[in-house]
């Protein structure tokens, strides 16, 4: 006798009610599937992932405020993602960020079933590889992130890049200092540095990326080490190579 596997728990994320209705209708006829939530935007999706822990998101790309790629950036470690969109130009990037599949609207029930099969076999493996920082992915016209998204349980903080003072590495995490508050994000400093505009943000130290607009001056401390003094008085260490990068920009 074969054991019945646990149902695949799915959340549908689309800002159009009719588009959600099609997906739900298809899914209701499929065995071994449970629709745990429907979300009309990216914020709801992040909340649902935190609260209901679905196995899979059917995720629209173009949504208000948080697009599909930004949602994936925030929750991609916790859930598998199948993108669903009328636009084919994001397909390549979708697979770069390890989406399970990419469905083009309108799609058939058979095509959806195929995507679910892929998701099942992906879930059978170990956790998906970590996702790169991709808040720019859905905006090909801008090369660098204009904002960084940070998930805090079911909430999402949107940090505009211009208001970020510095980013600090903390083991596998980074701390982002924005408007005097610190936000913790699961990402490496190198990934964060790559997403930010290099004309504004400079790696001044192995563990620090600094926003030039927030720099007040560089001075020497008692032990002849260079220190960056921020406009609000905070002090960050500057390494030798960091100082070279800094001087080349100033």
């Amino acid at each position: 006798m074969t054991e019945t596997p646990a149902p695949l728990r799915i959340a549908i994320v689309d800002d159009e009610a009719l588009a959600r209705a099609v997906a739900r209708e298809y899914l209701e006829t499929m065995p071994g599937v449970e629709v745990v939530a429907e979300c009309a935007n990216g914020f709801e999706a992040v909340k649902v992932v935190a609260e209901h822990r679905p196995d899979l998101l059917l995720l629209d790309v173009q949504m208000p405020k948080l697009d599909g790629f930004e949602v994936l950036d925030l929750v991609g470690r916790d859930v598998a993602v199948v993108f669903v969109t009328a636009y084919d130009q994001y397909a390549l990037r979708a697979f770069e960020v390890h989406a399970v599949d990419y469905l083009l609207k309108p799609f058939s029930a058979e095509r959806l079933a195929e995507a679910l099969d892929r998701a099942r076999s992906r879930l059978g493996q170990s956790a998906p590889p970590p996702v790169r920082a991709l808040s720019v992915a859905a905006h090909p016209e801008q090369r660098y992130a204009s904002r960084i998204l940070v998930r805090d349980g079911s909430r999402v903080h949107v940090l505009p890049a211009s208001r970020i003072a510095y980013v600090q590495a903390q083991d596998d995490y980074i701390t982002i200092s924005c408007d005097g508050k610190d936000y913790l994000k699961e990402q490496t400093l190198t990934e964060a540095e790559a997403a930010l505009d290099p004309a504004k943000f400079v790696r001044i130290h192995r563990s620090f990326v600094l926003n030039l607009d927030c720099l007040s001056r560089v001075e020497l401390d008692a032990r002849e080490n260079r220190v960056a003094v921020l406009a609000d008085g905070r002090r960050l260490p500057v390494s030798r190579s960091g100082y070279q990068r800094l001087s080349s920009l100033l």
Binding site: E16, L18, P64, K65, P106, Q142, S146
Partner: protein, 352 residues
Amino acid sequence: MHPILARPARLASYLAGWLVVGALIAGAVSRRGLSVSEAVVFVLPPLLVYAFICLSAWYVCRAVPLRTSGALRVLAACSLAAAVAAGLWFGLALAWVALLESMPGRDGLAEAYGQQTPFLLSVAVLLFLLALAVHYLVLAFEETREADRQRLALQVHARDAELRALRAQLNPHFLYNCLNSIGALTTVDPSGARRMCLMLGEFLRTTLHAGALARIALADELALADRFLSIEQVRFGSRLEIERRIDEAALSARVPPLFLQPLVENAVIHGIASLLDGGIILLDVRRAGGRLVIAIENACDPELLTPMRHGTGLTNVRDRLHALFGSAATMTARAHQGRFRVELNLPLSVDD
């Protein structure tokens, strides 16, 4: 680059012309007391060198263009250049004669040459003036050709803008999303699905029809925008609201077909679709004297202004207006307090 030196074929015919001139001068000289062979040896070599000196007329023509320089200036420059060139030629000829004289059996050449001086000098001046005239002609010819080329390029560009604008009318993603909505409606609301099919069919038919016309009535253009918006309302539901402020006096104006379509589409895709709760799209049309003023305003997410401002939709409309009306039409786009407004101002034309 020099127009004659640059092409071997032109240079060859230029030099051939000079050979003819040389033969004529040699003939004239021989009638003044030299033998034909002496006259040829005497005249031709310096003359061929002079042919190259005369090519410098090009630079005079370039430095003193006929169109922008005064007559006096042209006259002075030409006379000066001709005098200098003729002087140069005279010096060359003098050296050539001295060389010939140093050979045996050529006595009396210098004397014969001395007699020919006034004749040869005036011929040299005339030849240089002729060269100037030829170069001015070549210059005018090339300018006309360049102007033609530019006019053609401009026409192609305008046509291109037209085509791009028309092609952009039928955005495939709009169709895909429509089909997806219809697919959803077939089970939850079959009569709604049928309504949507009818609206879409009507929209496609009028779009294709209008695209083939040169001008349509503004009333028809606005009806088309309405159809498009009612279809989008099925997709976006209560998120999309529409407000109209239409001046009846403007409705009979003739406008390029489908020129509002990209703007309305922009307002939906980059405006309403980017807001969690959607918002209002305002169509504001009025007649102001001999001008037609059309504004499309939508709610927008202030954080996402870049795609609104620089989308291909706006660029296409701007290019097309420019191609059709030149500087007589203007388009402005600005964002203010969460609203994005595009305003078109074009000359009003009404059918008789």
